[in-house]
């Protein structure tokens, strides 16, 4: 069977729900698409700890400090798991980290924004992680089986992060008027990035990730699921969602103000308020820990 016929048969297989393992034959296009997708996910987990890490020393109680530290630890673990999946597709980890730090590859929009108060930490852990889990639940059905399998552990840990975030928000909503105001302010600032997070609606005809079922569900479907579950949970606390157009019609479909796709594009290409500062932190940290890698590699080659 020549490569062309083999590729067609492969695409028919993945398009109809078939699975692919790391050592299966795959067309170069598919391999490249999965690698790009998983690499961006890994980058996002690694960069995603930075907004929250800023609050570890400023958490209001010991319990919250431990919970936040634990969450950061979980996210870095997710990054390592996902870099490993991506490495198996042929790109070395060192190259992925170099590309991230040089701004050649992307990470999700939400991690390019600043945090203003402890309320932001609650809103992020609750709603950003919730939007992520909606995608990640869907990815459990990805055509690339090694990636789908990592989602089981990732989704389990994310679900505890969401509970932690919701608990932080609830504690503040049951607190003082100024604490409630901080939560409302955080929601006002984070709603836009949240609505952009799943990306603009795409057409399978042009969206290879969707056609080849690397992504099992489309962006709009994910956004609709997120709204259906979380809008009622936000409103029942007395919070106001900062979109006057947001409503659900009789068919259950949500209507909303069109998210600013220009902002999304600009932010993910490194022009977000905190993009450069956070990438600079990664570069500094990488340079400062080079002695650890050198020492371990020297020991390893001396022992060999």
């Amino acid at each position: 069977m020549d490569d062309q016929a083999r590729a067609e048969s492969f695409y028919a297989h993945v398009g109809s729900g078939g699975k692919v393992e790391a050592d299966d034959w795959m067309p170069d296009d598919y391999r490249a698409a999965v690698l790009k997708f998983v690499e961006m996910h890994a980058n996002s987990e690694l960069m995603g700890v930075l907004p929250e890490r800023e609050w570890i020393l400023r958490a209001p109680t010991l319990r919250r400090k431990l919970a936040l530290t634990s969450k950061v630890q979980d996210e870095v673990g997710h990054a390592q798991l996902l870099y490993r999946v991506a490495e198996d597709l042929g790109k070395p980890r060192e190259q992925m980290l170099a590309d991230l730090m040089a701004g050649r590859t992307k990470f999700h929009n939400v991690f390019h924004y600043p945090t203003a108060s402890w309320a932001d930490v609650g809103i992020i852990a609750w709603l950003v992680d919730a939007a992520a889990i909606v995608s990640q639940q869907a990815l459990r059905d990805s055509s690339y089986a090694p990636y789908a399998r990592t989602m089981k552990k990732i989704c389990w840990e994310e679900s505890v992060h969401i509970m932690h975030g919701r608990d932080v928000v609830l504690t503040m909503m049951n607190g003082t008027a100024s604490q409630r105001a901080l939560v409302q302010d955080a929601l006002d600032r984070w709603w836009g990035p949240l609505m952009q997070m799943h990306g603009p609606p795409t057409d399978p005809a042009t969206d290879k990730d969707l056609r080849w079922r690397i992504k099992a569900k489309g962006n709009e479907q994910l956004r609709q699921e997120f709204l259906s579950i979380y809008v009622p949970r936000i409103r029942e606390l007395g919070l106001r969602i900062p979109d006057a157009e947001l409503r659900q019609d009789d068919d259950g479909r949500w209507h909303y103000t069109e998210p600013d796709w220009g902002e999304l594009r600009s932010v993910v290409t490194g022009h977000g308020p905190k993009s450069q500062e956070r990438l600079a932190f990664r570069r500094t940290n990488h340079a400062a820990t080079q002695w650890v890698r050198d020492a371990l590699l020297q020991q390893a080659s001396a022992a060999a």
Partner: protein, 80 residues
Amino acid sequence: MIHGGSVRAPDEELALHYAREFYGRRQESHRLWIVPREAIVELDDPDLLKPPFDRSFKKPGGYIIKHKLEAAKARAGEGT
């Protein structure tokens, strides 16, 4: 010594007598410590008394929100 209860009295002498009436009338007490309320220093910080050595903050069981959620919904219902 265990906490027996409280009394309301205008002065120390009456407080002693009331305490004896409520907590010592049937020889149930061997000794009573009677302390004015203002002298009590309270410690109720969960970080100090119940630090989470069980790592419950990493588990779903560490986040039972039922009462907090009910309280928040009730407050939201009342407000305008």
